[in-house]
């Protein structure tokens, strides 16, 4: 099980609490990529499509960040493997709204 922590606006949109659980990694698979996790998150909560990554290009939206295990994964490619503690469920994958005001 992979735990994903969402920012407040996305929790409201998806109608969930702070954390959601993804049924990953699939049986017999030892690796889960950042892209796999985001795909699974969007499949579970379709309302989140387009909120973290652009439709079409799949690029991360400018004011969204992905953190895990005190690392910034925001600039990693979609095939970047998530850290082992995230796969074990002992650490969450964090989806973060950048600090920007107004």
């Amino acid at each position: 099980m992979i735990r994903v922590e969402l920012p407040a606006h996305l929790r409201t949109l998806a109608g969930v609490g702070r954390e959601v659980a993804l049924d990953l990694p699939a049986d017999g698979c030892a690796c889960v990529t950042l892209g796999d996790a985001l795909d699974a998150l969007e499949a579970l909560y379709p309302v989140l499509r387009g909120t973290m990554r652009d439709y079409g290009t799949g690029r991360r939206r400018a004011y969204v960040r992905f953190f895990a295990c005190m690392q910034d994964l925001s600039h990693e490619r979609p095939d970047f493997p998530l850290p082992e503690p995230v796969l074990r469920g002992s650490e969450p994958l964090l989806v973060v709204g950048a600090i920007a005001g107004g």
């Binding site: 606006h9 949109l13 309302v47 439709y55 939206r61 969204v64 709204g97 107004g102």
Partner: protein, 371 residues
């Protein structure tokens, strides 16, 4: 008539104001979608309980919300706005080609007859249509692919398609306006378009009378007389008596002809309202006095409406989608400000009071007259 429902979009959420036909006491519901920018909400003329809302933030992009119970509950519907084909480029501020990029939905215009059909005007300027209640969106790319499209440039607020008018008499005719490309007309329900800008003059352009490049802020139409159009341009208040074929200026004795919204009285097609703003460099009312101006002669002769509106130290703006009218026998006028006030006149503008004073900055006001 039993009452009115006022749909208010703000920088930090949507609010629904309701009142009876007297329009004196107001119930304020909201914020819906708290913390999100709500550029526009609008109800279906065919089913007043069907509402659409444009919800966005720079962080998480665009959502479209739909209500089937007059705004009590909402559901997210489709939010994929993909340009048709390879979108190409338009001009950027520095004159270089810039790829068309979707930013947000500025305006939602439900069909006059079908609650499931709704048009969306977006930034970067394009027109989309949904025929399934907002679940999916298809671009009507004949507008963006007009021969002049690659030369369009954004105004300071972005290159937005902000006005969509559906002609209730001439089947298939519709109008769209874009800052800063101009005004366009379609005769085939949005498939093909041509500029309708003859008579417009914009001094900020190298050729002030060019076919495209005008910063049209808003166009209004009375449904009983769809060939007559009123336009608030960046500067100049304009009128067309032939469906946009040609325009003439009706600024007349206004203190300034800069402004954003323009509206027509529900029962008097020659009575028009504007909110003069000092200038493009000073987006607040002249002399710190908020005055709505009314013409009962279709333009040129204007009277200031001040009773109940702040007449000192007032430096708010009224944005292009933030004025509307109801259709109660004594027509009501509604104005939302960037200071968070929604002012209401239940007597066609003669006197005003605030329905609410301290909302977030108001982006849009749409009024539904309820049976």
């Amino acid at each position: 008539m039993t009452g009115v429902r006022v749909l208010v979009g703000t920088r930090k959420g949507a609010f629904v104001l309701t009142s009876d036909g007297k329009r004196e006491k107001w119930d304020i519901a909201g914020p819906h979608f708290a913390g999100w920018e709500i550029y526009h909400l609008k109800g279906s003329p065919a089913d007043p309980n069907r509402l659409y809302a444009s919800q966005s933030t720079s962080w998480f992009g665009q959502q479209i919300q739909r209500s089937d119970d007059g705004g009590q509950t909402w559901q997210s519907v489709g939010n994929e706005f993909s340009y048709d084909g390879t979108p190409g480029t338009h001009q950027w501020y520095d004159g270089t080609p810039h790829p068309w990029e979707f930013a947000r939905v500025w305006h939602l215009e439900p069909s006059l007859r079908d609650p499931d059909t709704v048009y969306a005007g977006v930034e970067d300027a394009a027109l989309f249509r949904s025929t399934d209640g907002g679940q999916s969106w298809q671009e009507l790319s004949g507008l963006r692919n007009h021969d002049t499209g690659s030369s369009w440039q954004p105004g300071a607020g972005g290159m937005c398609l902000h006005t969509i008018l559906l002609d209730p008499v001439n089947e298939g005719r519709m109008f769209a306006a874009i800052s800063a490309a101009g005004a366009f007309r379609s005769e085939d329900a949005g498939e093909t378009w041509r500029p309708v800008t003859k008579g417009l003059r914009s001094e900020f352009m190298p050729d002030p009378e060019a076919e495209v490049g005008h910063c049209v802020h808003r166009i209004a139409m009375h449904p009983s007389r769809p060939d007559v159009l009123f336009m608030q341009k960046h500067w100049d208040v304009m009128r067309s008596d032939n469906g946009g074929e040609s325009w003439h200026e009706i600024s007349g004795d206004l203190p300034t002809d800069f402004g954003f919204p323009i509206s027509v009285h529900a029962h008097e097609p020659e009575t028009v309202y504007v909110v003069p703003i000092t200038s493009d460099e000073q987006h607040f009312p002249p002399d710190g006095r908020l005055r709505v101006y009314r013409s009962r002669t279709g333009g040129n002769e204007w009277e200031p409406l001040t009773e109940g509106l702040p007449q000192q130290n007032c430096y708010v703006n009224v944005l292009r989608d933030a004025m509307d009218v109801d259709s109660i026998d004594e027509c009501g006028i509604y104005v939302g400000t960037t200071g968070g006030q929604v002012y209401v006149s239940a007597d066609a503008g003669d006197s005003w009071s605030a329905a609410v004073r301290d909302l977030p900055s108001v982006l849009s006001v749409e009024v539904q007259t309820l049976p």
